[in-house]
Amino acid sequence: MSGSIFALPVSVEQLAAAIKQMSQTDQKQLLDLVPDLRHIASQPSSRTVDQAQTTVARLRAEVLSVLKDRPLSPDEPFMGGLTLGQYHALPDEERTKLWDEWAGTDLMELEEKEVDSNALSAG
């Protein structure tokens, strides 16, 4: 049975066109018959590693350019009496703690600001 369905000369685009012609009731029934569609629709789309690597390759060139092609050394003095290499070698929890110490501000203690009466809402 399933073999004969896959053998049908119907493209995804043709299926989509047929689905668009359906009533809402039939479309809902289709979702019940193919529950994976609901699951797929609820997943946010994602960037791929390849896409990200392409974008970041350009950024790498930009970083080296602002450093005038003098890359940072792991021995560069960093904050907190550490070298950059030592900082990067710390466990993530330690780095989180250090940033909290260095921040010196609690978000909840900041003064609230009045926005412009015409402020554009994210909604």
Binding site: L64, P71, W102, L107, A119
Partner: protein, 174 residues
Amino acid sequence: MHCLLDKVTARRAVEGLLKLAKGRTLSIQELFTLDLFSRTAPPTLRLFIVPPTANVLQSLAQLPRYSAVIHLFLNQVEIALPTRYFKRWARRLRGHGFTREDAAVLALATFGTDENATILGMHFVATFDQPMINHWATRQVAIQERLTAMQDDIPMPYRHAFLPQVLRPEHVGA
């Protein structure tokens, strides 16, 4: 679109930039955060950081060898500032089971603005905190009801405040 980077995500971006500056390989989280950073193109997508992160970066930028890289980052992000009702909304969110810090970031994404106070709220919070993403999603209806109830008592433009989408960086604007 406005996207707020939580503290860890902003740190991933900076640590990633410093790794690029050392010629080292990025972790997957650094890669996706810097991908998002590179896709920033105001006014289509504006990236924001929280004020405590900005403080750290301003200190780091004082060190001459890091200044250029940190300014590369700071020049492309803005600082989100709390607006009126931020603290009230953060307290409400704590009532939904968020930690103090998570509630503050989420509240800033609803009652936060830019330097000129011309916007209200963020479309996205970018975070790698999967438990927070999940908790935000599962409590969404109740949180929206709470915000709607609060909005009955507050003036414009705060009445138009909106809940952000809470997503991993690789899902923002993908």
